[in-house]
Symmetry: C2
Subunit: 477 residues, 2 copies
């Protein structure tokens, strides 16, 4: 939706301060490489799902400082006129790579790489993080919920509890990528073709003098798909009997009942039995009450009779963990015409970054098509698809594994070449299918909700050596 | 920012389905009254802070179905051509009231009331909830954090972890209303005049060959306000000594150091001591590492030496509780020219709504100007400002209190009169000041973070009687 809205100024103020700073310094025309990566999967899951790339592309295509922007920046009394003039003529000229949307991603590997003049490569930090962190968070959470439903359709119903307009719209988009069947968010259907649906609120039922009348009116108007909300008064004493009466009288083509409160397992089992006894086996049962992956898993285990789920606030805000902590770190910087690898060193080993201009590959087992490991390499390195390639745990290098019968795929695609967009996003349905296919390349152990197997993300020998060199030089200081 | 973007279609699909349903039914021209209210304060706090009204007004002013919208809706094969023609000529004609932004609000009282043709009053549900739920959530959380800081400025630094673009921008707005001193979000400054600031990232420090050089360059370029990030390598061994050296050499007008990692209490105490020993008493210390109200309270108690806080993800997502559960319920509906009160009855007493077309007043003690109670009345009722007015707990009516020496203020303002906007939002600075003043009318006991005193929200005798009547009629069924 915001594709045509210029979000150039949706940036942390320090990006502008630094841009002006670089502009005023000797290194203003130097190149730099930045990586976006993350350190932890939300909800302690085994993987995340990349999303938000299409919006990132739109942002970069639209990068432009308007006269209004320049006037505003001038009013801050912090920036030189030469710099403001530079912004007025700003042209994005970076190279950008990203992991395609719908791909399972793992901690510490680069999921976006930007290479270009340092002013530019730094400036785009905020929006890259904003869009990828948000949509990846929602896609990751949605996929957990979809998997918990074991094939039953899950609808995204969270618009009213989303954190603002873009959270609702882009969240619906991300949830669809990750396997949701549709959304309640109408504008997400209009703009992204995420199938929108919805039938009635409690207020519909209350507006009419009786529940029966409310159901009858609705079914008369929507004979092709009458899903009736049966918990306004009392599910078993009132809602269900009235719905059955109307279904028998009006015989809609498709019919369903929705329950939005009460004990899901008990009510759905009772409803299913009564519906079946009345010959309404084709009537579906939809549930929509504060659901998440754990509750869905539990009620299915309890034998709840549910045909589809509507999931609201716990999906659209990723309530149990509402932050995806992606970061954007300097990986290399130009010195005398060469790219010098840079890394952030921390007492906390987990916070040490991987230096240099890099690439990432995913290795698959030929026989099963299952993903074996990801390997981060220096740019330009390739991984030979022949028996005997050795991977090792970068934090415990005696843990080695020699691979046979595998093939290699690049995990990154190029989005921009010197500022020109060279990538066309697949359709949302293509991304969704790709996501489903890619998740099938993961082992069951990685899919587990709790305490999943850690997937290997290894370093090439060359990258590992460069990293060790820098670490030793640093600790020698 | 979205003021000029038509968000009419940012609505749950069932609003459209119901609109078409009402349109096809006998009651299509009937009026209805809906209330927005909430049941629980996030983080178990004592009050929430109303926010998001300005965006609600913009939405209602811009309500309009474009040809694109109509074409999209037609493609769903669910709506009659007459209804689509109605949408094409749609004109918003409702009356709307809301609690002004910045006001402390409490569970169960109406914070938005919409009265008008049922199709319209129903249709606006989704956006009302979306914008008020989101901004109220962030304002409420931000105010907790601001209060924890005990007068020290709190900056909103969360853009990169916000749930999408509007969450970043509108979130910065809401946090400013609630007392934050500013934001990192540049566009929120340009569009809403929330003061934006920011200085440097770790990448600035890493880009230069040495930390000293990075600090010196920055201070040379920004001599008016040099805040240096001192934790890229090692705060005490490297960052602080280099900053002090540069400050002494270049003598910037204002200076500060920012620490983004490590133990806050220990590091800030050490830094303060060393800065003071070097005659840099005026150098401020800024902290910005995964902060929230609890951590801020604790480090202040530990004697941390902090001049201001930058707070990120835990504020901009209200991480500890990322959902504000406002709901929008039918309160009355026209029958034979009269408004008939409606209520949702539930086994769960807390979920029973207040029926009818209502109003809300806040009663203040004359002497202290402290708020005593809110009273929900039927529309048209007034509360006499004379000694002897009796309030009572609607859930335990023997708990009574007779008020003396008090005055009464209406809590709601009218936003729209028959679809015409009749309210002009105050400036954001005015709202912020109003918020501060209103919070001073609350007793300390209500402000407490944990287990605060429950503020009285009572019903007028008339409203209470109407509610009892409906309840008894219902249970007599």
């Amino acid at each position: 939706m915001l594709d045509n809205y210029n979000l150039t100024m949706l940036t942390d103020f320090y990006e502008v301060t630094m841009a002006n700073g670089y502009f005023q310094s000797d290194i203003r025309n130097h190149e730099a490489v930045f990586d976006m990566f993350f350190r932890r999967v939300p909800d302690d899951g085994g993987f995340a799902i990349m999303a938000g790339v299409e919006q990132l592309i739109a942002y970069m295509k639209n990068l432009k400082f308007t006269d209004e922007d320049i006037d505003y920046l001038r009013s801050k009394n912090s920036f030189s006129e030469e710099f403001l003039e530079y912004l007025r003529n700003f042209k994005f000229t970076c190279d950008v790579w990203a992991v395609p949307e719908g791909t399972p991603i793992f901690p510490h590997e680069p999921i976006v790489i930007v290479k270009g003049p340092i002013i530019q490569a730094q400036f785009v930090e905020t929006f890259i993080l904003l869009t990828i962190n948000h949509q990846t968070l929602i896609a990751t959470k949605s996929n957990r919920i979809v998997r918990a439903a074991q094939g039953r359709p899950v609808m995204e119903f969270g618009t009213r509890r989303a954190q603002g307009a873009s959270a609702a719209i882009d969240g619906a988009r991300a949830s669809y990528i990750a396997g949701c069947a549709g959304t309640a968010c109408t504008i997400a259907d209009r703009d992204f073709h995420v199938p929108a649906l919805g039938t009635m609120a409690h207020s519909w039922v209350q507006t009419f003098d009786t529940e029966y009348e409310a159901f009858r009116e609705y079914t008369r108007i929507y004979p092709d798909n009458a899903v009736l909300l049966i918990d306004t008064y009392n599910v078993l004493k009132s809602g269900l009997p009235n719905a059955i009466k109307v279904f028998k009288e009006l015989k809609p083509k498709k019919m369903g009942v929705r329950i939005d409160s009460g004990d899901i397992a008990y009510l759905t089992k009772r409803c299913r039995k009564i519906l079946d006894e009345n010959g309404l086996e084709e009537c579906s049962i939809v549930i929509s009450n504060s659901l998440d992956e754990y509750l869905i898993r539990d009620v299915i285990m309890e034998g709840a009779q549910i045909d589809s789920f509507g999931v609201g606030e716990r999906l659209i805000t990723s309530k149990s963990e509402p932050v995806f902590g992606g970061v954007y770190k300097l990986a290399a910087v130009e010195r005398n015409g060469e790219m010098v690898p840079k890394m952030k060193i921390s007492e906390n080993v987990d916070k040490i970054t991987n230096p240099g201009f890099k690439h990432v590959y995913r290795l698959y087992e030929k026989e099963s098509n299952k993903a074996i490991a990801d390997v981060i390499t220096m740019e330009g390195e390739t991984i030979p698809e022949q028996d005997g390639y050795e991977i090792f745990d970068p934090n415990a290098i005696w843990k080695k594994k020699t691979l046979k019968n595998f093939y290699v795929r690049s995990l990154l695609v190029q989005l921009f070449d010197k500022g020109e967009c060279v990538y066309e996003s697949p359709s949302l349905d293509e991304i969704r299918q790709y996501c489903k296919d890619q998740i099938e390349t993961l082992w069951e152990e990685t899919l587990r909700f709790e305490n999943p197997q850690t997937y290997y993300v290894d370093l090439s020998k060359k990258l590992w050596s460069i990293k060790q060199d820098i670490l030793h030089r640093y600790t020698d200081l």
